[in-house]
């Protein structure tokens, strides 16, 4: 792959990442034209700093004018994002300066760590060491595990594959497998798009 296309892909990734700092509603209205504008300018540190300041300002404006909060939804991706950063992410998405309206005192502690629902929003909330999980997320986990039960190659009996053949495999085999699985599980993000572009570029240049 040529270094320019790699740089271009990384640049686009950086710009899309910067765009994600802006509130959702703002992105929906101005996202396309804003990305078109930023890609036309050299991405200097000062430019990046200005875009970040713009995002902070847009969030301040949004938290002043918007009244409704986005209700967190129990989904596979929210599980994949793991428990700890969810509250911080949620807070960042809804604007830092906004007051926590529905998370007060003890209620805040009894929330599903995976989907963020309160105890009174679910049928059952199960406590673990410092984490909680609701019945809906348990059911979803069961479905995900049931889907993922493939006959793995590790279940083959010892010595089924000759050692010589295993050595002949390229060193990045395991890595490629992991990346492909990751691409299959979460296909909406822009990091995935960038990686897919890189892989497509590598494949086209090697043939």
């Amino acid at each position: 792959m040529s270094p320019t296309s790699l740089r271009g892909a990384l640049r686009l990734f950086a710009i899309r990442t910067l765009l994600r700092l802006y509130p959702r509603a703002w992105r929906r209205r101005y996202g396309v034209e804003f990305v078109a504008l930023v890609t036309q300018r050299p991405l200097s540190p000062l430019e990046v700093a200005d875009v970040v300041r713009g995002a902070v300002d847009a969030r301040r404006v949004a938290s002043r004018t918007m009244t409704s909060r986005r209700v967190p939804v129990c989904s596979a991706s929210s599980i994949a994002n793991s428990a700890a950063p969810t509250a911080v992410l949620e807070r960042w998405r809804n604007g830092w300066t906004g007051r926590r309206r529905d998370m007060t005192g003890k209620q805040q502690r009894f929330r599903c760590s995976f989907c963020g629902k309160r105890r009174d929003q679910v049928r059952r909330l199960i406590a673990g060491p410092g984490v909680y999980i609701c019945d809906e997320c348990v059911a979803l986990c069961n479905r995900v595990i049931a889907d993922g039960e493939h006959p793995h190659s590790c279940q083959q009996p010892e010595g089924a594959r000759p050692a010589v053949q295993r050595q002949a495999a390229p060193w990045w085999q395991g890595w490629q497998h992991l990346v492909r699985r990751w691409l299959e599980t979460r296909r909406t993000g822009h990091l995935q798009m960038t990686v897919r572009q890189l892989i497509a570029g590598a494949a086209s240049s090697s043939t």
Partner: protein, 108 residues
């Protein structure tokens, strides 16, 4: 906007420059940047430009036009013309007073 410059902090000057730029015809973001760099010798950055532009649009001073090739042009709305005239006349007063006082200072 009551005759004074916008009270939008660091976006005030950018908003004024955008209005002046759009008074010369509809433009999209990058064209505004280039135009402002040409007539005011000032490079607005993307975050500042859009911070000012969103405020201007919210108050109905500029109007968005249909997108062309992912870039959206904006034009001056009727309220924007009024606001720009108010700003220019208030600047006129300041410039006139400044000149007058400098001249009086040099005469004495």
């Amino acid at each position: 906007v009551d005759g004074a410059l916008f009270d939008w902090g660091r976006f005030s000057e950018a908003a004024f420059l955008i209005l002046v730029s759009l008074a010369g015809g509809a433009k999209h973001g990058y064209a505004m940047m280039e135009d402002i760099a040409a007539f005011a010798d000032m490079r607005l950055r993307s975050g500042t430009l859009y911070g000012a532009l969103t405020r201007l649009e919210e108050r109905g001073l500029v109007e968005p036009l249909p997108t062309a090739d992912r870039r959206r042009p904006y034009r001056l709305a009727a309220a924007g013309v009024v606001a720009l005239q108010a700003q220019l006349s208030s600047l006129d007063v300041r410039v006139a007073i400044g000149r007058q006082r400098l001249a009086a200072d040099q005469a004495s």
